[in-house]
Each structure stands twice: as C-alpha cells, then as structure tokens.
C-alpha cells in the first residue's frame, strides 16, 4: 500500500461538495488510468449519487479509493448517509420513478454507468451505495 492507495473521505453537505466529489473521483479515475469515456461515466455516476446523498439523505459522506484485482486497476466510491432510507428499493431502482422533482435516473442510470453497484438501505437507518469501475 502506498499513500495514493489510502482512501479519501469527503463530507457531502452542500452543492459545492457535489462538485468536489466529481473532482476527487476524476483524480482517482485518472490515477487508475481509466479511459476518458470510463472516467466520464464514473464521474457522472458519482455526481448523481452525491446529489442523492445530499437531497435524500440530508447530508452524508463519500469514501473514494483505488483498487487492484487480478491485475486490473479500479476505483471504488462508497456514498453513505444517515437519512430516512429507501422504503421500496425495487421501485427506487426503476427508470423514471422519482420521489422528488428529479428525472428518476439517479440510481438506475448510475448503475448502468459502473461495473459494480451495491445498495444497502434500511428505513430509519440510512443508505449506503457502493460503486466500482474497472479498467478494461
């Protein structure tokens, strides 16, 4: 483990933080040598998820780190909040379904943009979304 491998953590409590999350994830994606298209996909997914954390969770945090598995480099971002949680996950993952004023693409769209997507949520406890993007 080198210093570059230690995860970065950011608090997400304002719109400016969403921009900071994009920059942090982009730096990590460049360090992992993801292609420009894959960088853009990961940063876009991170932007959606950071906004979800802010809007639905009230506030929260993200942990971003570089990974290596079977000789491939990747980036993992873990978004967590202590908000109300998602009562109906299946519904929330449906394209076009929205609980607010958005387009309902945040979760379902982000999932399409990454290689691994995991969501852990419980009403009253909060939500944690983990995404990973690997080099090809």
């Amino acid at each position: 483990m080198t210093a570059a491998d230690s995860p970065d953590e950011l608090v997400i409590s304002s719109g400016d933080d969403v921009v900071r999350v994009r920059q942090l994830v982009r730096n990590r994606a460049q360090a992992a040598k993801l292609s420009l298209v894959d960088q853009t996909k990961l940063v876009t997914a991170a932007s959606e998820l950071a906004r979800n954390t802010l809007i639905h969770g009230g506030s929260g945090r993200v942990l971003v780190e570089n990974l290596t598995r079977n000789g491939r480099a990747g980036v993992r971002a873990v978004f967590s909040d202590d908000g109300p949680g998602i009562p109906d996950l299946q519904l929330a993952m449906t394209d076009g379904w929205t609980s607010g004023s958005g387009l309902g693409l945040g979760l379902s769209g982000s999932k399409r943009l990454v290689d691994e997507f995991d969501i852990d949520t419980e009403v009253g406890r909060g939500t944690t979304v983990t995404v990973v993007k690997w080099t090809r």
Partner: protein
C-alpha cells in the same frame, strides 16, 4: 457559486460554460438567461458546452428547461460542442435530451438558429438576413469543439 457569462452575438446570446457546474450555478443561469432574452430581444441562444467535462441528469434537465423557457420567450436554443465521452455517458445514463436541439459547434448552431428564425419570422429575415453573423470576423477559433488534452 460561479456565474456563467452571457455574450451577445448579433441577434443571439452565446452562453459558454467553462466551469464545473454546481446546481446553484445552473439555476442562476436559467434566471439570468430569461432576463437577458427579454431585455435584449434575442431570438436565439447558443449554449457552448465544449468546456464541460460531465453532464449529469440535473445539468441535462437544465438544457431542456432553458430550451422550453426560451421558446416561451420567442427564442430558440441550440446546445453545441458536446464532447464524445459526455454524449456516450448521457445516452447510457438514459437522458435523451428530448426537445433540445444540438449542433457540433457554435458555427453550425448559429446556422440552425438563422434557419429557425427565418421560418418563425419570415419578414425579419428578409430585412436582415445577417442577423446571426459574427461581426468579429472568422469566429472559427471560439467555435472549435476540440476535446482538451
């Protein structure tokens, strides 16, 4: 929060986005643009996003809102200069930008606006068919939608 500058280009307004857009900047841009369309009587809006590295669903929705808003105020909108990686990501995200006209660069965007305005205001076009010409000479440099290294 950054404010996106609005430039007049003949009968059109040129919005060149060069900052990483936070949500407040996006909302402020919509308001500024509505005010400027009314105060300047602009017939078209060109939004140049060649400097934009990501377009997420919020920013994408803003393009649709601006297009709808300017139409209500008698102006047409064209979004130009989208980077290839952004286009690929938008489609995969599920955003099709319905109702938003796009063009490869500012020059083509202005050509589209000129045609649309001529259709909507045939008499004006006869009187002044150089409405959208860039009087600053060859605007090719500003218009290039080159991906940055």
């Amino acid at each position: 929060m950054d404010r996106v500058p609005l430039l007049s280009l003949g009968d059109a307004l040129l919005v060149s986005i060069q900052v990483d857009l936070d949500d407040e900047t996006v909302l402020a841009l919509q308001e500024d643009l509505a005010e400027r369309i009314v105060s300047s009587g602009a017939r078209g809006v060109v939004i140049d996003i060649s400097g934009v590295e990501i377009v997420d669903s919020f920013i994408g929705r803003m393009f649709g809102s601006i297009a709808a808003l300017s139409r209500v105020l008698d102006a047409e909108t064209v979004v130009v200069g989208m980077r290839p990686a952004v286009a690929i990501t938008l489609v995969e995200l599920g955003l099709s930008l319905n109702g938003v006209r796009t063009a490869l660069n500012v020059e083509r965007g202005l050509t589209i606006l000129r045609k649309l305005t001529a259709e909507r205001h045939p008499r004006d076009a006869e009187d002044d068919d150089v409405a959208f010409d860039d009087h600053g000479g060859d605007g090719g440099e500003v218009m290039a939608a080159q991906p940055r290294a």
